[in-house]
Symmetry: C2
DNA sequence: CCGAGATCGAACCGATCGGTATGATCAGAC
DNA sequence: GTCTGATCATACCGATCGGTTCGATCTCGG
Protein backbone atom coordinates (compact mmCIF):
# COMPACT_ATOMS: atom_id res chain seq x y z
CA UNK A 1 0.00 0.00 0.00
CA UNK A 2 2.80 2.44 0.39
CA UNK A 3 4.14 4.65 -2.33
CA UNK A 4 2.87 2.35 -5.12
CA UNK A 5 4.49 -0.08 -7.52
CA UNK A 6 6.29 0.70 -10.71
CA UNK A 7 6.44 4.20 -12.11
CA UNK A 8 3.10 5.28 -10.72
CA UNK A 9 2.82 8.43 -12.74
CA UNK A 10 4.86 10.48 -10.34
CA UNK A 11 8.41 10.26 -8.97
CA UNK A 12 7.81 13.57 -7.19
CA UNK A 13 4.96 11.94 -5.30
CA UNK A 14 7.28 9.15 -4.20
CA UNK A 15 9.81 11.66 -2.99
CA UNK A 16 7.20 13.61 -1.06
CA UNK A 17 5.86 10.45 0.52
CA UNK A 18 9.33 9.44 1.65
CA UNK A 19 9.97 12.82 3.24
CA UNK A 20 6.60 12.77 4.93
CA UNK A 21 6.99 9.30 6.41
CA UNK A 22 10.67 9.73 7.26
CA UNK A 23 9.88 12.92 9.17
CA UNK A 24 7.60 11.05 11.54
CA UNK A 25 9.88 8.05 12.01
CA UNK A 26 13.11 10.02 12.45
CA UNK A 27 11.42 12.42 14.86
CA UNK A 28 10.19 9.54 16.96
CA UNK A 29 13.36 7.48 16.95
CA UNK A 30 16.05 10.11 16.57
CA UNK A 31 18.24 10.64 13.52
CA UNK A 32 20.78 8.01 14.54
CA UNK A 33 18.25 5.87 16.37
CA UNK A 34 17.22 3.98 13.26
CA UNK A 35 19.20 2.60 10.33
CA UNK A 36 18.43 3.18 6.69
CA UNK A 37 17.29 -0.42 6.21
CA UNK A 38 14.68 -0.33 8.96
CA UNK A 39 13.71 3.20 8.01
CA UNK A 40 12.95 2.05 4.46
CA UNK A 41 10.88 -0.85 5.78
CA UNK A 42 8.83 1.47 7.98
CA UNK A 43 8.35 3.92 5.14
CA UNK A 44 7.53 1.16 2.70
CA UNK A 45 10.14 2.02 0.11
CA UNK A 46 13.28 0.28 -1.12
CA UNK A 47 16.76 1.51 -0.25
CA UNK A 48 17.49 1.90 -3.93
CA UNK A 49 14.64 4.37 -4.32
CA UNK A 50 15.56 6.32 -1.22
CA UNK A 51 19.17 6.68 -2.29
CA UNK A 52 18.22 7.65 -5.82
CA UNK A 53 16.11 10.50 -4.47
CA UNK A 54 18.35 11.77 -1.70
CA UNK A 55 21.86 10.45 -2.31
CA UNK A 56 22.68 9.89 1.32
CA UNK A 57 20.90 9.57 4.64
CA UNK A 58 22.23 13.01 5.48
CA UNK A 59 20.63 14.34 2.32
CA UNK A 60 17.24 13.04 3.36
CA UNK A 61 17.69 14.47 6.84
CA UNK A 62 18.47 17.92 5.48
CA UNK A 63 15.50 17.96 3.11
CA UNK A 64 13.13 16.84 5.82
CA UNK A 65 14.48 19.29 8.43
CA UNK A 66 14.15 22.18 6.03
CA UNK A 67 10.58 21.24 5.24
CA UNK A 68 9.69 20.76 8.87
CA UNK A 69 11.22 24.10 9.86
CA UNK A 70 9.25 25.89 7.17
CA UNK A 71 6.00 24.22 8.09
CA UNK A 72 6.29 24.89 11.80
CA UNK A 73 7.19 28.52 11.24
CA UNK A 74 4.32 28.98 8.81
CA UNK A 75 1.98 27.31 11.27
CA UNK A 76 2.97 29.72 14.03
CA UNK A 77 2.81 32.66 11.67
CA UNK A 78 -0.69 31.69 10.65
CA UNK A 79 -1.73 31.47 14.30
CA UNK A 80 -0.42 34.99 14.86
CA UNK A 81 -2.21 36.37 11.82
CA UNK A 82 -5.45 34.73 12.87
CA UNK A 83 -5.22 36.42 16.25
CA UNK A 84 -5.94 39.87 14.89
CA UNK A 85 -4.07 43.12 15.30
CA UNK A 86 -3.54 43.31 19.04
CA UNK A 87 0.07 42.32 19.79
CA UNK A 88 -1.01 40.85 23.12
CA UNK A 89 -3.47 38.58 21.36
CA UNK A 90 -0.83 37.66 18.80
CA UNK A 91 1.66 36.72 21.49
CA UNK A 92 -0.93 34.73 23.39
CA UNK A 93 -1.79 32.90 20.18
CA UNK A 94 1.82 31.77 19.81
CA UNK A 95 1.87 30.07 23.19
CA UNK A 96 -1.62 28.65 22.81
CA UNK A 97 -0.49 27.05 19.57
CA UNK A 98 2.63 25.73 21.27
CA UNK A 99 0.56 24.15 24.04
CA UNK A 100 -1.44 22.26 21.43
CA UNK A 101 1.85 20.92 20.13
CA UNK A 102 3.07 19.99 23.62
CA UNK A 103 -0.12 18.02 24.21
CA UNK A 104 0.40 15.92 21.10
CA UNK A 105 1.36 12.38 22.19
CA UNK A 106 4.17 12.29 19.64
CA UNK A 107 5.68 15.56 20.88
CA UNK A 108 9.41 15.08 21.44
CA UNK A 109 10.71 18.65 21.48
CA UNK A 110 11.96 20.73 18.58
CA UNK A 111 13.19 18.44 15.79
CA UNK A 112 15.78 20.98 14.65
CA UNK A 113 17.26 21.37 18.12
CA UNK A 114 17.28 17.61 18.62
CA UNK A 115 19.10 17.22 15.34
CA UNK A 116 21.62 19.93 16.14
CA UNK A 117 22.26 18.35 19.53
CA UNK A 118 23.60 15.20 17.92
CA UNK A 119 24.58 15.93 14.31
CA UNK A 120 27.40 18.40 14.59
CA UNK A 121 27.53 18.61 10.81
CA UNK A 122 27.43 22.06 9.35
CA UNK A 123 24.32 21.86 7.14
CA UNK A 124 22.14 20.72 10.02
CA UNK A 125 23.45 23.46 12.28
CA UNK A 126 22.72 25.99 9.58
CA UNK A 127 19.13 24.80 9.25
CA UNK A 128 18.70 25.15 13.01
CA UNK A 129 20.09 28.68 13.02
CA UNK A 130 17.75 29.67 10.18
CA UNK A 131 14.88 28.09 12.04
CA UNK A 132 15.56 30.21 15.11
CA UNK A 133 15.98 33.21 12.82
CA UNK A 134 12.42 32.66 11.65
CA UNK A 135 11.05 32.49 15.17
CA UNK A 136 13.01 35.57 16.16
CA UNK A 137 11.66 37.52 13.21
CA UNK A 138 8.09 36.62 14.08
CA UNK A 139 8.49 37.55 17.73
CA UNK A 140 10.40 40.72 17.04
CA UNK A 141 7.60 41.76 14.73
CA UNK A 142 5.12 41.39 17.55
CA UNK A 143 7.42 43.40 19.81
CA UNK A 144 7.54 46.15 17.24
CA UNK A 145 3.79 46.15 16.84
CA UNK A 146 3.46 46.56 20.59
CA UNK A 147 5.67 49.61 20.54
CA UNK A 148 8.36 48.02 22.67
CA UNK A 149 11.27 50.20 23.65
CA UNK A 150 13.76 47.72 22.22
CA UNK A 151 12.06 45.25 19.86
CA UNK A 152 15.17 43.18 19.02
CA UNK A 153 15.93 42.55 22.69
CA UNK A 154 12.31 41.82 23.58
CA UNK A 155 12.06 39.56 20.56
CA UNK A 156 15.07 37.63 21.75
CA UNK A 157 13.68 37.33 25.26
CA UNK A 158 10.44 36.02 23.84
CA UNK A 159 12.41 33.55 21.75
CA UNK A 160 14.03 32.31 24.94
CA UNK A 161 10.61 31.81 26.47
CA UNK A 162 9.39 29.91 23.43
CA UNK A 163 12.41 27.62 23.34
CA UNK A 164 12.52 27.30 27.10
CA UNK A 165 8.86 26.33 27.24
CA UNK A 166 9.47 23.74 24.53
CA UNK A 167 12.47 22.28 26.37
CA UNK A 168 10.60 22.14 29.66
CA UNK A 169 7.55 20.61 28.00
CA UNK A 170 9.65 18.00 26.22
CA UNK A 171 12.02 17.01 28.99
CA UNK A 172 10.30 17.87 32.24
CA UNK A 173 6.56 18.41 32.23
CA UNK A 174 4.30 19.58 29.44
CA UNK A 175 1.25 20.36 31.58
CA UNK A 176 0.59 24.08 31.50
CA UNK A 177 3.98 24.88 29.99
CA UNK A 178 2.46 26.97 27.22
CA UNK A 179 0.16 28.81 29.62
CA UNK A 180 2.91 29.68 32.06
CA UNK A 181 5.18 30.83 29.28
CA UNK A 182 2.36 32.93 27.83
CA UNK A 183 1.81 34.68 31.17
CA UNK A 184 5.51 35.46 31.40
CA UNK A 185 5.60 36.69 27.80
CA UNK A 186 2.70 39.05 28.35
CA UNK A 187 4.38 40.48 31.43
CA UNK A 188 7.54 41.13 29.43
CA UNK A 189 5.50 42.71 26.66
CA UNK A 190 3.73 45.01 29.09
CA UNK A 191 6.94 46.01 30.81
CA UNK A 192 8.65 46.76 27.50
CA UNK A 193 5.75 48.72 26.07
CA UNK A 194 5.17 51.05 28.99
CA UNK A 195 7.57 53.98 28.78
CA UNK A 196 7.61 53.98 32.55
CA UNK A 197 5.91 51.66 35.01
CA UNK A 198 2.27 52.61 35.43
CA UNK A 199 2.60 55.27 32.79
CA UNK B 1 51.25 9.67 30.80
CA UNK B 2 47.57 9.04 31.25
CA UNK B 3 46.02 7.14 34.12
CA UNK B 4 49.31 5.28 34.88
CA UNK B 5 50.56 1.76 34.30
CA UNK B 6 49.83 -1.32 36.37
CA UNK B 7 47.87 -1.13 39.57
CA UNK B 8 49.01 2.37 40.45
CA UNK B 9 47.78 2.37 43.99
CA UNK B 10 44.24 3.34 43.08
CA UNK B 11 41.54 1.86 40.84
CA UNK B 12 39.19 4.57 42.03
CA UNK B 13 41.57 7.17 40.65
CA UNK B 14 41.51 5.43 37.28
CA UNK B 15 37.75 5.43 37.30
CA UNK B 16 37.59 9.11 38.17
CA UNK B 17 40.08 9.96 35.46
CA UNK B 18 38.04 8.07 32.88
CA UNK B 19 34.84 9.88 33.85
CA UNK B 20 36.61 13.22 33.81
CA UNK B 21 38.14 12.76 30.37
CA UNK B 22 35.11 11.04 28.87
CA UNK B 23 32.90 13.93 29.98
CA UNK B 24 34.89 16.39 27.89
CA UNK B 25 35.19 14.17 24.84
CA UNK B 26 31.57 12.99 24.79
CA UNK B 27 30.32 16.54 25.33
CA UNK B 28 32.37 17.77 22.39
CA UNK B 29 31.60 14.94 20.00
CA UNK B 30 28.17 13.82 21.13
CA UNK B 31 27.34 10.53 22.81
CA UNK B 32 27.05 8.62 19.55
CA UNK B 33 29.57 10.77 17.74
CA UNK B 34 32.54 8.74 18.88
CA UNK B 35 33.11 5.01 19.26
CA UNK B 36 34.42 3.29 22.35
CA UNK B 37 37.73 2.49 20.65
CA UNK B 38 38.53 6.09 19.74
CA UNK B 39 37.16 7.30 23.03
CA UNK B 40 39.58 5.04 24.88
CA UNK B 41 42.47 6.29 22.76
CA UNK B 42 41.60 9.91 23.52
CA UNK B 43 41.22 9.18 27.20
CA UNK B 44 44.40 7.13 27.28
CA UNK B 45 42.92 3.97 28.69
CA UNK B 46 42.36 0.47 27.34
CA UNK B 47 38.93 -0.81 26.42
CA UNK B 48 39.35 -3.63 28.90
CA UNK B 49 39.79 -1.15 31.75
CA UNK B 50 36.86 0.98 30.68
CA UNK B 51 34.53 -2.00 30.44
CA UNK B 52 35.68 -3.41 33.77
CA UNK B 53 34.77 -0.12 35.45
CA UNK B 54 31.52 0.68 33.69
CA UNK B 55 30.25 -2.51 32.08
CA UNK B 56 28.86 -0.80 28.99
CA UNK B 57 29.20 2.49 27.16
CA UNK B 58 25.75 3.34 28.45
CA UNK B 59 26.98 2.74 31.98
CA UNK B 60 29.78 5.22 31.53
CA UNK B 61 27.39 7.75 30.01
CA UNK B 62 25.02 7.51 32.94
CA UNK B 63 27.76 7.89 35.54
CA UNK B 64 29.21 10.89 33.77
CA UNK B 65 25.83 12.58 33.20
CA UNK B 66 24.92 12.17 36.86
CA UNK B 67 28.21 13.68 37.93
CA UNK B 68 27.93 16.54 35.48
CA UNK B 69 24.38 17.33 36.53
CA UNK B 70 25.39 17.43 40.18
CA UNK B 71 28.38 19.62 39.52
CA UNK B 72 26.53 22.15 37.39
CA UNK B 73 23.71 22.42 39.88
CA UNK B 74 26.13 22.84 42.78
CA UNK B 75 28.01 25.46 40.80
CA UNK B 76 24.85 27.49 40.21
CA UNK B 77 23.78 27.02 43.81
CA UNK B 78 27.13 28.31 44.99
CA UNK B 79 26.77 31.35 42.74
CA UNK B 80 23.38 32.07 44.29
CA UNK B 81 24.66 31.70 47.83
CA UNK B 82 27.60 33.96 47.10
CA UNK B 83 25.23 36.66 45.90
CA UNK B 84 23.86 37.41 49.34
CA UNK B 85 20.31 37.55 50.63
CA UNK B 86 18.61 39.78 48.06
CA UNK B 87 16.57 37.56 45.71
CA UNK B 88 17.20 39.99 42.86
CA UNK B 89 20.94 39.67 43.35
CA UNK B 90 20.60 35.90 43.57
CA UNK B 91 18.67 35.73 40.33
CA UNK B 92 21.11 38.04 38.58
CA UNK B 93 23.95 35.82 39.79
CA UNK B 94 22.39 32.81 38.09
CA UNK B 95 22.37 34.44 34.68
CA UNK B 96 25.78 36.01 35.14
CA UNK B 97 27.14 32.56 35.86
CA UNK B 98 25.35 31.18 32.81
CA UNK B 99 26.87 33.85 30.58
CA UNK B 100 30.35 32.78 31.73
CA UNK B 101 29.44 29.27 30.62
CA UNK B 102 28.07 30.48 27.27
CA UNK B 103 31.33 32.31 26.61
CA UNK B 104 33.40 29.17 27.11
CA UNK B 105 34.73 28.05 23.70
CA UNK B 106 33.74 24.46 24.43
CA UNK B 107 30.14 25.43 25.28
CA UNK B 108 27.77 23.18 23.37
CA UNK B 109 24.53 23.55 25.28
CA UNK B 110 23.25 21.51 28.19
CA UNK B 111 24.84 18.06 28.14
CA UNK B 112 21.80 16.45 29.74
CA UNK B 113 19.40 17.92 27.18
CA UNK B 114 21.71 16.95 24.34
CA UNK B 115 21.83 13.41 25.68
CA UNK B 116 18.07 13.22 26.12
CA UNK B 117 17.58 14.52 22.58
CA UNK B 118 19.27 11.46 21.12
CA UNK B 119 19.31 8.67 23.74
CA UNK B 120 15.68 7.86 24.24
CA UNK B 121 16.69 5.29 26.85
CA UNK B 122 14.96 5.56 30.14
CA UNK B 123 17.92 6.07 32.52
CA UNK B 124 19.19 9.04 30.55
CA UNK B 125 15.77 10.65 30.42
CA UNK B 126 15.47 10.19 34.18
CA UNK B 127 18.78 11.93 34.78
CA UNK B 128 17.61 14.84 32.65
CA UNK B 129 14.33 15.14 34.54
CA UNK B 130 16.18 15.12 37.87
CA UNK B 131 18.54 17.72 36.51
CA UNK B 132 15.69 20.05 35.66
CA UNK B 133 14.16 19.27 39.05
CA UNK B 134 17.32 20.64 40.64
CA UNK B 135 17.19 23.84 38.63
CA UNK B 136 13.51 24.28 39.39
CA UNK B 137 14.10 23.85 43.09
CA UNK B 138 16.82 26.48 43.09
CA UNK B 139 14.75 28.98 41.14
CA UNK B 140 11.56 28.35 43.10
CA UNK B 141 13.55 29.01 46.26
CA UNK B 142 14.54 32.41 44.93
CA UNK B 143 10.92 33.08 44.00
CA UNK B 144 9.84 32.23 47.54
CA UNK B 145 12.52 34.44 49.02
CA UNK B 146 11.23 37.30 46.92
CA UNK B 147 7.73 36.85 48.25
CA UNK B 148 6.29 35.95 44.89
CA UNK B 149 2.54 35.44 44.72
CA UNK B 150 2.98 31.98 43.20
CA UNK B 151 6.55 30.70 43.67
CA UNK B 152 6.09 27.37 41.85
CA UNK B 153 4.79 29.10 38.73
CA UNK B 154 7.41 31.84 38.84
CA UNK B 155 10.09 29.22 39.42
CA UNK B 156 8.93 27.36 36.35
CA UNK B 157 8.91 30.52 34.26
CA UNK B 158 12.43 31.27 35.41
CA UNK B 159 13.42 27.72 34.50
CA UNK B 160 12.11 28.34 31.01
CA UNK B 161 14.23 31.46 30.78
CA UNK B 162 17.33 29.58 31.94
CA UNK B 163 16.83 26.74 29.48
CA UNK B 164 15.72 29.08 26.72
CA UNK B 165 18.79 31.25 27.17
CA UNK B 166 20.98 28.16 27.05
CA UNK B 167 19.33 26.90 23.87
CA UNK B 168 19.60 30.29 22.18
CA UNK B 169 23.21 30.67 23.27
CA UNK B 170 24.10 27.20 22.04
CA UNK B 171 22.24 27.13 18.75
CA UNK B 172 21.76 30.74 17.70
CA UNK B 173 23.94 33.41 19.31
CA UNK B 174 25.62 33.41 22.70
CA UNK B 175 26.43 37.14 22.80
CA UNK B 176 24.46 38.78 25.55
CA UNK B 177 22.13 35.82 25.99
CA UNK B 178 22.70 35.69 29.73
CA UNK B 179 22.23 39.44 30.12
CA UNK B 180 19.01 39.55 28.15
CA UNK B 181 17.63 36.57 30.03
CA UNK B 182 18.62 38.20 33.31
CA UNK B 183 16.73 41.38 32.45
CA UNK B 184 13.65 39.36 31.60
CA UNK B 185 13.96 37.31 34.78
CA UNK B 186 14.17 40.41 36.95
CA UNK B 187 11.09 41.84 35.30
CA UNK B 188 9.17 38.66 36.04
CA UNK B 189 10.43 38.68 39.60
CA UNK B 190 9.29 42.27 40.11
CA UNK B 191 5.91 41.64 38.57
CA UNK B 192 5.34 38.58 40.71
CA UNK B 193 6.50 40.19 43.93
CA UNK B 194 4.47 43.35 43.74
CA UNK B 195 0.96 42.79 45.04
CA UNK B 196 -0.17 45.34 42.51
CA UNK B 197 1.80 47.24 39.88
CA UNK B 198 3.61 50.19 41.43
CA UNK B 199 2.46 49.09 44.85
C1' DC C 1 60.04 -12.52 46.71
C1' DC C 2 55.89 -13.91 45.41
C1' DG C 3 51.01 -13.70 44.47
C1' DA C 4 46.83 -10.80 43.59
C1' DG C 5 44.97 -7.78 40.72
C1' DA C 6 44.90 -3.61 37.80
C1' DT C 7 46.26 -2.31 33.47
C1' DC C 8 47.67 -2.40 28.49
C1' DG C 9 47.70 -3.53 23.67
C1' DA C 10 45.96 -6.09 20.27
C1' DA C 11 43.44 -9.57 18.32
C1' DC C 12 38.99 -11.01 17.81
C1' DC C 13 33.69 -11.45 17.68
C1' DG C 14 29.02 -10.97 15.64
C1' DA C 15 26.02 -7.32 14.48
C1' DT C 16 24.92 -3.39 12.26
C1' DC C 17 26.04 0.60 9.75
C1' DG C 18 25.58 3.49 5.23
C1' DG C 19 25.72 2.60 0.61
C1' DT C 20 25.89 -0.15 -4.03
C1' DA C 21 24.69 -3.53 -7.51
C1' DT C 22 21.60 -6.77 -9.78
C1' DG C 23 17.63 -8.65 -11.96
C1' DA C 24 12.82 -8.65 -12.20
C1' DT C 25 8.44 -6.16 -12.37
C1' DC C 26 5.27 -2.90 -13.77
C1' DA C 27 3.16 1.73 -15.69
C1' DG C 28 3.02 4.92 -18.99
C1' DA C 29 4.64 7.17 -23.59
C1' DC C 30 4.98 6.40 -28.22
C1' DG D 1 4.08 -3.89 -28.82
C1' DT D 2 7.95 -2.06 -27.34
C1' DC D 3 10.88 0.93 -24.97
C1' DT D 4 11.91 3.88 -20.93
C1' DG D 5 12.45 4.35 -16.37
C1' DA D 6 10.73 4.15 -11.62
C1' DT D 7 10.34 0.77 -8.43
C1' DC D 8 11.14 -3.50 -5.51
C1' DA D 9 13.47 -7.27 -3.23
C1' DT D 10 17.64 -9.08 -2.22
C1' DA D 11 22.20 -9.81 -1.88
C1' DC D 12 26.32 -7.80 -1.16
C1' DC D 13 30.24 -4.54 0.24
C1' DG D 14 33.79 -2.61 3.47
C1' DA D 15 33.78 -0.12 7.66
C1' DT D 16 32.64 0.47 12.12
C1' DC D 17 30.09 -0.55 16.08
C1' DG D 18 29.92 -2.28 21.16
C1' DG D 19 31.92 -5.74 23.62
C1' DT D 20 35.15 -9.92 24.89
C1' DT D 21 39.33 -12.39 25.48
C1' DC D 22 44.19 -13.13 26.20
C1' DG D 23 48.95 -12.72 27.25
C1' DA D 24 52.26 -9.61 29.00
C1' DT D 25 53.51 -6.08 32.24
C1' DC D 26 53.65 -3.61 36.25
C1' DT D 27 52.52 -2.39 41.56
C1' DC D 28 51.57 -3.20 45.65
C1' DG D 29 50.56 -6.02 50.08
C1' DG D 30 52.14 -9.68 52.59
Amino acid sequence: MPVAKGSTIDPARTRATIVEAATAVLYERGLDGIGVAELCTRIGVSKETLYRHFGTKEGLVEVMLRQRSERVTQWLTAAVEAAGDDPRDQLAAVFDALQLWYDDPVFRGCAMLNAAAQHHVEPVRTITVRHLDGYLELLTGIAEGAGAANPPVLGRQLLMLVEGATVVAAHHDSVGAGEHARQAALILLSAASAASPCG
